[in-house]
């Protein structure tokens, strides 16, 4: 890896703990590499997965989220949701073929100034080891990230990830607790489905593609692609063509588009 690689890292820090921890780090003059650019948010729970995926798609080498320690959230329970969302981000990044180590979630309290410098230094060296984001020279990774971004913005994923914490910790209306394993599998399956479907739509936006083409790019079996196409056609999101009169190809219907 090139020694002079200086990663671009975006950090989202919550106002009450991790941003204050970064402030204390400065006051105490603990030094760390210059690679991080911090955006202040009120709570780490503010960050949607699609925002992080977008930043990675635009070429960031890493993204770090900082929140209050579990149990200490200024907004009572925000970071529990952050934890669930972060898991989803990792999952989506992995599906898109990027290293999940490019994102990190850290709890830093307002009194952990020195720890903040260590966290940043450690993350910077981790990203340096991973090297520059492949987005910069591989357009297909950007496409896949776009698919992941759209998937994480979908109603199904947002509803599932947002409800996950409450479903795991509170009884439902029938006073039953959900089996965590079952819920996990359900979310995992939904994430795969939504990612693949979003990617099909992303890929077929510019040009029509056949099931075989899609199967190759997304790296899933053709019957699975076909299943998705059927589902998407039912929702009227994709249209079929026969350009050569033989093999059907598909293109995304752009809602409200030209």
């Amino acid at each position: 890896m090139a020694e002079d690689f200086e990663p671009k890292i975006v950090g989202f820090l919550c106002n009450w703990c991790s941003y204050a921890g970064a402030d204390l780090c400065g006051v105490s003059r603990y030094q760390y590499p210059t690679n991080i650019r911090v955006v202040r948010v009120m709570c780490s729970t503010r960050i949607s997965p699609h925002m992080v995926l977008r930043i990675l798609r635009e070429g960031a080498d890493g993204v770090i989220l900082g929140g209050c320690h579990i149990g200490d959230c200024h907004y009572i329970s925000g970071n529990y949701y952050t934890e669930r969302r972060f898991e989803m981000m990792e999952k989506m990044i992995e599906l898109a073929g990027l290293e999940p180590e490019r994102i990190r979630l850290e709890w830093v309290s307002a009194s952990e100034g020195e720890r903040f410098s260590k966290v940043v230094s450690d993350f910077v060296s981790q990203i340096k080891k991973l090297g520059p984001s492949p987005v910069r020279n591989k357009p297909e990774v950007a496409k896949k990230l776009e698919g992941a971004e759209n998937a994480s913005k979908s109603f199904r994923m947002k509803a599932l990830v947002s409800k996950e914490y409450n479903l795991l910790t509170k009884e439902n209306v029938y006073e039953e607790m959900l089996d965590p394993e079952r819920l996990r599998n359900l979310i995992e399956q939904a994430a795969n489905d939504e990612y693949e479907r979003s990617l099909i739509l992303t890929l077929t936006q510019d040009k029509s593609l056949s099931v075989k083409d899609l199967s190759k790019i997304i790296d899933v079996p053709t019957d699975r692609v076909l299943e998705h196409i059927v589902a998407l056609r039912q929702k009227n999101l994709i249209a079929m063509e026969h350009p050569d009169g033989f093999t059907p190809t598909y293109h995304a219907i752009i809602i409200g588009g030209e």
Partner: protein, 623 residues
């Protein structure tokens, strides 16, 4: 008034601060200001030695007027301390304070990159670019002013609750005081006397109970519970339900105080508790003293930290050292008065008052004592003579260390030692054991100083078990949306700086509901909570920060996800079944915004667009 400039052409002004050499010494500040001038939308940029000084603030105000600025960026220290100052400054110049952005190039840049000026300067440029990208998307906001219902609800009719209720009532605010038991008084009703006095506990609090009952501003609901709470600071709708009836009473209140107290911890077989007769807890012992049902005994042992400090609960219950010392002295001085048989035989011994001695007296006594060796006190000898040497009751306090914190209490501890109460230390890995040898109750312990195992016969073992959270604290926590900590006690907003506030505005906590405390401390907290609770009531309105959720009702499908995730209950469904934000209750955390499956919720002053513009500006030159 402030002008709405959102439709005007963007005119951004950037002010980069040297902060003396704090920033200027490690970042090329003039070059950052020069760079800012090249950014689209920026019409003015300058560097100041101290932006927060009088001339720096004047420069901002002048530039706003002279260059018709409608957006301001200050690049200097942390917004956590200086944002209000600069916001006030731009407001003075006629600009809405929400059209201002703070860029932190000190704590987050110059102070943490002190040895790489070039890279630090590059980072400062990036940070300024991010701030400019953000400020251009900001829009002016009005902070909502919400009227307040001038009354309060106090939950719990113990000493803390009664004190808080009475305090608020005296200030002129109507108070609804809810107690789940049939009587006011709470935990204190169990107690015999309150250290450092010898006065009867119930007698001590009786005047307070009478004042509360008779105050025209206080409505007491006995044998009742709070069954429902909705709303937010200044505007809570509460329902109170009697335990034996179904009909609920509804009230509107502006503040709520939680004073639900604590209970004493007990555990089957803890040092033989509930297994052997004559193993009791501190409170059970107090009840026996109060009812004069103590058995005739000769050897009494207290075991401190029974179940606390890592044994079953993690914390120190704080009050039990002092309570045990009080009771040890009571036993030594006043045993016959506490005996069950005393009343029957009509034999009562003159009460020996126990009063803390002034430090000088103690010092004087110590001096006297050391001058004549380890001799006994005259007073003590006299007492023994009075009782007869055979009737002296031996009291032993097994302890890990005595925490008789406070001014009077240390003297009290010394008093106990002077009265020959034995203090025997144990280590948590070698706790004393309560055993039964035939029909004789024994304590087996390791004597640390002599380093030997010992056994002693005892007639009564008193366990100093900790105060623990009320079993229904969780219910109240859910009802009010306020947190309980790991140990089940209510958790205040800030461990040091906000001891009686909850993070939820308008809800306060005092007394043992937030952790073990003695009566003095409970009263102090109660007065504090009453004063905090009165603040919005006295003002008559609350001003909310304009950082809040906004639901686009054209997009909302009414799925209710936001209602589930909101920690403040700040989102409700309107008549059309769509989500609506209650401005006064919303804190602007953004959880609902990130959760909304329809992407219908945006956060004022922290919209997706604003955050993304800021983040993406870090990656490349802005457009």
């Amino acid at each position: 008034m402030e002008n709405d400039k959102s439709n005007e052409e963007l005119r951004v002004g950037v002010f980069v601060c040297h902060c003396g050499t704090n920033i200027g010494g490690f970042v090329d500040v003039p070059s950052v200001a020069e760079y800012a001038k090249t950014l689209p939308g920026v019409v003015f940029a300058m560097d100041n030695l101290y932006t927060c000084a009088e001339d720096g603030l004047a420069a901002i105000k002048n530039a706003i007027k002279e260059h018709k600025l409608n957006r301001v960026v200050v690049a200097s220290c942390t917004p956590r301390t200086h944002a209000p100052l600069f916001q006030a400054t731009v407001e003075e110049a006629g600009l809405n304070k929400y059209l201002f952005t703070f860029v932190n190039i000190r704590e987050h840049c110059s102070w943490v990159h002190m040895k790489e000026k070039e890279k630090a300067t590059e980072k400062a440029r990036d940070l300024v670019r991010m701030g400019v990208a953000r400020v251009k998307l900001l829009s002016p906001q009005e902070e909502p002013r919400i009227p307040v219902e001038k009354s309060a609800l106090v939950i719990g009719g113990g000493v803390a609750g009664m004190t808080a209720a009475h305090s608020l009532a005296k200030m002129g605010f109507p108070v609804h005081l809810v107690e789940k038991e049939k009587e006011l008084g709470g935990f204190v009703r169990n107690l015999n006397n309150l250290y450092v006095t010898t006065k009867d506990a119930t007698e001590t609090i009786m005047p307070l109970i009478e004042k509360v009952k008779s105050h025209p501003n206080i409505k007491v609901y006995l044998n009742s519970k709070v069954s429902n709470v909705h709303g937010f600071i200044g505007n809570f709708d509460v329902k109170i339900k009697p335990n034996d009836k179904d009909e609920e009473v509804e009230h509107k209140v502006g503040s709520i105080i939680v004073a639900t107290g604590a209970i004493e911890y007990t555990k089957e077989a803890l040092y033989g508790y509930n297994v052997y007769k004559n193993v009791v807890t501190l409170t059970e012992f107090e009840i026996m003293c109060k009812n004069k049902t103590l058995p005739k005994v000769k050897n009494v042992a207290f075991i401190q930290c029974a179940g606390s400090r890592g044994q079953d609960v993690s914390y120190c219950s704080r009050i039990c050292c002092n309570v045990a010392i009080k009771n040890a002295i009571n036993i030594v001085d006043n045993y016959d008065n506490l005996l069950g048989i005393a009343e029957q035989t009509g034999k009562a011994v003159e009460e020996v008052p126990v009063e803390p001695k002034a430090p000088t007296e103690v010092l004087e006594r110590r001096r006297r004592r050391s001058s004549r060796g380890r001799g006994r006190e005259d007073e003590e000898v006299a007492e023994e003579v009075k009782r007869g040497p055979g009737e002296r009751i031996e009291v032993t306090i097994f302890n890990r260390d005595i925490m008789s914190y406070g001014i009077a209490h240390e003297l009290y501890f010394n008093k106990a030692r002077e009265k020959r109460v034995r203090f025997v230390r144990y280590k948590p890995d070698r706790r004393p054991e309560v055993i039964m040898d035939g029909d004789k109750l024994m304590i087996k312990y390791f004597h640390e100083t002599l380093a030997v195992e010992r056994e002693m016969p005892v007639d009564l073992v008193i366990l100093s078990t900790p105060l623990i959270a009320q079993p229904d604290a969780e219910d109240i926590s859910r009802l009010l949306k306020v947190p309980c900590g790991q140990d089940g006690f209510f958790l205040e907003a800030h461990v040091k700086l906000r001891p009686v506030d909850f993070a939820t505005d308008g809800v306060f906590v005092c007394g043992t509901a937030r952790g073990p405390a003695d009566i003095t401390e409970s009263i102090e907290q109660a007065e504090a909570a009453a004063s905090r609770a009165a603040t919005p009531l006295a003002a008559g309105y609350v001003q909310a920060e304009a950082i809040m959720a906004h639901v686009d009702q054209e997009i909302c499908s009414g799925c209710g996800t936001c209602i589930d995730v909101c920690p403040y209950g700040a989102i409700t469904k309107n008549e059309e079944g769509l989500a609506e934000v209650v401005a006064a209750a919303c804190k602007g955390c953004g959880c609902c915004g990130a959760s909304c499956p329809e992407n219908a919720i945006s956060m004022t002053n922290y919209t997706d667009e604003q955050l993304m513009a800021e983040a993406l500006a870090a990656l490349k030159e802005a457009i």
